[in-house]
């Protein structure tokens, strides 16, 4: 017999020793993860109550950290949510796996109830102080301020220093952590990148933040509509394993197996029972109570269910941002030259409902570096409207971007890599059951079905861009031709006249002839451009009509239905497989270019004279 005594540890004990598994693997990540968890909780709380969220964030250095090469950082997140009751505070901030959302099958940001407790643990481990909370609900006359600490041994939150204070808000929560960390503002793991991404996929969010010594940045909401969070759906029986199935049954106690199956799962009806029976389930089990059903009997039921073909799970539980709001939000990324937005109809991937939304935008500021030498595009990944910032290479979204042939849309791309250029590709994946690769929720598992679904959305966004980029190329071609005429005509005629010693009269006649000749070429190029513009407009107009027919409510804002893939594009989705999508493309009118053409012509005329 082993001499060593076997002991059991609490969940909190486990996580306090393995904080790297939940996003606290480095001082930089610690700051970002703490901010992320606090914001996720605030936004979820606001949306649950239908409140338009208003967040205020403050991050500053308050001294030197206890860990080498770190600073002592104060992170404060204030929201206008419903507020927390005082008895819930220790559970929310100090207890692991205490969540209102665990396994509910809703598209909420938080799921397991680990993140914010881990942030409290990190603060407690590094600065010996937990989280400072101020809360006020509508029913409270005064706000309550307290300090929460994690009782690691017992996985419980302890309240300390509880006092009532006056607070100038009718309701809300303010949470403040002081912890060891390092601040990174820009780049993939940067705080600003995170906040910009959060604003992009939360158009209804009013955000104010103050980072270090910088002045307060305000990001106003672009939508006054709080998203309707679809109701949770019961799990689909085909997504369960036998053990889970039996454990799930225990919730139903004395109810019959039939009731358990109908109420505990989606897509099971009286009709499907007949199918189960045909597939080997004993009819008697249905009327038997769950309590009295043995594991062997459950195994029979489970086997019959898996042999039966069931309807795919409902996609009603999936929410989308919507292309209209997403379009408005894209403009908050910076100075956007043009963009396309694609919202795919919710679909089923790996037996789970998912909705994919894509925004591809070209930024104005970086246009100079477009081409093969430019850096890779910026990828913004979102899972249930939470930015994912680390370990992007293994993520389903990045894999999907790399499999698309962006070259056919006019965007340079090295083989099997991210495309290059001043573009931002934002991929938002919404699903009540997102399969993350790790507990810190940084990478979405790249299953074939999911990658294909994202790829389709990207292809559609790329096709929209391609039409626009081709139009631009034709405009550039025309400009180039005009420039050529201006530059080379006089030189060519001059050289020819010098060699032949031709008189001025011949020179004039030759210049006129040459301009006439090259003018014909330019006219041909202009015709091509006009045709491209016409084609572009026709596609736009056609899209509008289709949307009027299908979705009258959304026809006002110049939206267009995506046509079947353009034959010129290499990545073509078969028409039958293409889900209805909505897309929008915006571009400042090319009047400036037309002006340039007219101006150039005038200039040529002057030269001729």
């Amino acid at each position: 017999m082993a001499k060593q005594k076997i002991t059991s540890s609490s969940t909190a004990e486990y996580f306090s020793k393995n904080l790297q598994q939940v996003g606290f693997s480095s001082p930089t990540k610690a700051v970002l993860t703490t901010l992320k968890e606090a914001i996720d909780n605030s936004l979820d709380a606001c949306e649950d109550e239908g409140i338009l969220p208003e967040l205020y964030i403050e991050i500053e250095k308050v001294g030197a950290g206890t860990i080498k090469n770190t600073d002592l950082i104060r992170i404060k997140v204030e929201d206008n949510g419903p507020g927390l009751n005082i008895e819930d505070i220790p559970k929310v901030f100090g207890e692991y796996l205490a969540s209102s959302k665990f396994g509910r099958g809703r598209c909420s940001r938080g799921q397991q109830g680990i993140g914010i407790s881990a942030a409290t643990t990190w603060a407690q481990l590094t600065s010996a102080k937990g989280a400072r909370i101020i809360t006020k609900t509508k029913t409270m006359r005064q706000a309550v301020s307290c300090l929460v600490e994690v009782d690691v041994k017992n996985n419980k939150g302890n309240l300390k220093d509880k006092k009532t204070i006056s607070w100038d808000r009718s309701h809300g929560v303010s949470v403040e952590f002081v912890l060891d960390g390092r601040i990174q503002l820009q780049g993939e793991g940067g705080l600003i990148t995170y906040l910009t991404g959060t604003a992009l996929v939360n158009p209804h969010l009013n955000l104010r933040y103050k980072l270090l010594d910088q002045s307060v940045v305000k990001v106003d909401r672009v939508s006054d509509k709080c998203p309707d969070i679809p109701n949770a759906v019961e799990p689909h029986p085909h997504t369960m394993k036998l053990g889970e199935f039996i454990a799930h049954s225990h919730l139903f106690g004395k109810a019959t197996v039939a009731t358990f199956l109908k109420k505990g799962f989606s897509r099971i009806t009286d009709n499907t029972f007949q199918e189960f029976i045909k597939n080997g389930m004993n009819k008697k089990f249905l009327t038997q109570s769950v309590d009295k059903t043995t594991d062997a009997q459950f195994k029979d039921v489970f086997g019959a269910i898996h042999k039966t073909e069931l309807m795919s799970p409902s996609t009603r539980s999936v929410m989308i941002i919507g292309e209209e709001t997403f379009s408005k939000s894209v403009r908050r990324l910076g100075e956007v030259d043009f963009f396309s937005v694609v919202t795919r109809k919710p679909t089923i991937c790996d037996f789970k409902p998912v909705a994919i939304e894509i925004a591809v935008a070209r930024l104005k500021t970086a246009q100079k570096v477009e081409g093969d030498d430019s850096p890779p595009v910026q990828v913004l990944r979102f899972a249930n409207r939470v930015p994912l910032q680390f370990d992007k290479s293994a993520c389903a979204m990045v894999k999907a971007i790399e499999t698309v042939n962006w070259r056919s849309y006019g965007i340079p791309q090295p083989k099997n890599s991210l495309p290059l250029g001043p573009y931002v590709i934002a991929v938002s994946l919404v699903s009540p059951f997102i399969k993350f690769k790790n507990a810190s929720k940084e990478t979405v598992d790249a299953s074939d079905e999911l990658v294909e679904e994202i790829r389709r959305a990207l292809i559609q966004a790329g096709q929209r861009l391609s039409r626009h980029i081709k139009k631009e190329h034709r405009e550039a071609d025309l400009e180039e031709k005009l420039r050529h005429i201006e530059q080379f005509c006089p030189i060519l005629v001059d050289c020819l006249c010098r060699i032949t010693k031709a008189p001025a009269k011949r020179k004039k006649a030759a210049t006129e002839g040459l301009v006439k000749l090259l003018g014909r070429d330019v006219n041909a190029a202009k015709k091509e451009l006009d045709e491209a513009l016409k084609h572009h407009k026709e596609a736009h107009a056609k899209g509008k009509i289709q949307i009027v027919e299908k979705e009258k409510a959304k026809s006002e804002d110049g939206e267009e239905e995506l046509k079947p893939p353009h034959p010129e594009d290499s990545d073509v989705i078969p028409e039958a497989e293409e889900a209805p999508v909505k897309a929008k493309i915006e571009k400042p009118a090319s009047k400036a270019k037309k002006k340039a053409v007219a101006k150039s012509k005038e200039k040529m005329k002057e030269k001729e004279v």
Partner: protein, 379 residues
């Protein structure tokens, strides 16, 4: 081409272009297509000649830059011809840069690098159907260092004077043939038995130092790899003016056979318009022959297929057997058989391997060469 014809041709061309422009017609420039698919080989002629294919270049928005650059460079070249100045392609590149620098209006014509101005010079040559030397644009006189105790060369100088060079008076120094062989006249003081062209310049030097020219009434020259215009024109002169048999001694590999020997014997596809003056169809391939390996027990080695250059040469050899009119012709069956042997056996043997036959006899390669010539052991 006579020197005074270039300015006349140029003026006619420019006049034609100007007239077309006055009438709002697109000037069309035509040049012979210099490529293998427009190459013909007639064994009676002996070198690659151009077919009927022409490259037509019509003036339009896309080609106006190229045309302007061509006329701009033509003007510089005509000025050179008028004053008798000569330049290399690189010098012309810098002259054009200078013109642009001093006349900002010409800035759109500026060349980003020499390859751009080079291609314009080649385009002018093809358009005018002349050699670059006709436009006073000379290349570096590379390769062809010649040794002989019997040869006397008379060079007509640009000022009309004559320079006579007796090669026997040069000791072990070589005579360097010029890229413009038309100005040279050859005479033999004594009967010359043969001319030996050695692929490696170093091996040619060894032969001379070891007394090859003292023992033989011969002309010895080193090709220095792919023969330059100077080497090609020089061999043609030796063949035409002295009427002596010419033998080529080089490596047994696909590169030597196609790029060096074929160019020397029949010219190249890129120089179709000047092969008549820059190829010596009578030159024979003395070795190394595939049978020599066995006969003399020469050290050979396998072709490294992972070596990019060698792999490319083999690929080219198989293409040449299918498409090159020179290798396809019956007259050159012996040479195409060597190519087939190389492709099949994937082995190569260098010219220096003759030194393995008797390592203690420094003139053993010479002895083998003389024996092969005597026996007619060449292709």
């Amino acid at each position: 081409m006579r020197e005074d014809t270039i300015p006349k041709l140029s003026k006619d061309l420019c006049n034609r272009m100007l007239t077309d422009l006055e009438n709002a017609r697109r000037p069309v420039l035509e040049a012979i297509k210099c490529s293998l698919d427009n190459s013909n080989y007639n064994p009676k002629v002996g070198y690659l000649t151009p077919g009927n294919k022409m490259v037509r270049s019509e003036l339009n928005v896309a080609s106006v830059q190229k045309m302007s650059r061509a006329i701009f460079i033509l003007e510089i070249l005509l000025r050179n011809i008028e004053t008798g100045a000569v330049n290399t392609k690189r010098e012309l590149y810098y002259i054009s840069k200078g013109e642009v620098k001093h006349n900002p209006e010409l800035r759109p014509l500026d060349f980003a690098d020499q390859s751009e101005s080079d291609s314009i010079i080649d385009f002018i040559c093809e358009m005018m159907e002349c050699y670059r030397e006709d436009l006073n644009c000379y290349a570096n006189d590379r390769g062809g260092q010649t040794y002989s105790n019997q040869l006397v060369v008379t060079e007509t100088l640009p000022d009309g004077g004559k320079a006579v060079v007796d090669l026997s008076t040069l000791g072990t120094s070589p005579f360097q043939p010029k890229n413009r062989p038309q100005s040279l006249a050859l005479k033999a003081k004594k009967k010359i038995d043969f001319c030996l062209v050695v692929e490696s310049e170093g091996t040619a030097n060894t032969f001379v130092t070891n007394g090859f020219c003292r023992r033989n009434n011969a002309i010895l020259l080193g090709a220095q790899g792919v023969p330059s215009n100077a080497v090609r024109g020089w061999c043609k002169l030796i063949q035409d003016q002295l009427k002596v048999p010419i033998y080529f001694f080089g490596d047994l590999d696909a590169y030597t056979l196609q790029n060096i020997f074929r160019t020397l014997k029949a010219g190249s596809a890129a120089s179709l318009i000047r092969n008549s003056d820059f190829s010596a169809p009578d030159v024979r391939f003395l070795g190394v022959l595939p049978e020599d390996i066995k006969k003399y027990d020469l050290a050979d080695y396998p072709v490294k297929e992972n070596d990019l250059q060698e792999a490319r040469a083999l690929k080219k050899a198989s293409d040449a057997l299918k498409n090159d009119p020179f290798f396809k012709d019956k007259k050159n069956k012996g040479l195409s058989k060597i190519l087939e042997w190389l492709l099949k056996n994937k082995r190569r043997c260098e010219q220096q391997s003759y030194f393995t036959v008797d390592p203690r006899d420094p003139i053993m390669p010479e002895k083998i060469i003389l024996e092969k010539i005597k026996r007619g052991d060449f292709i």
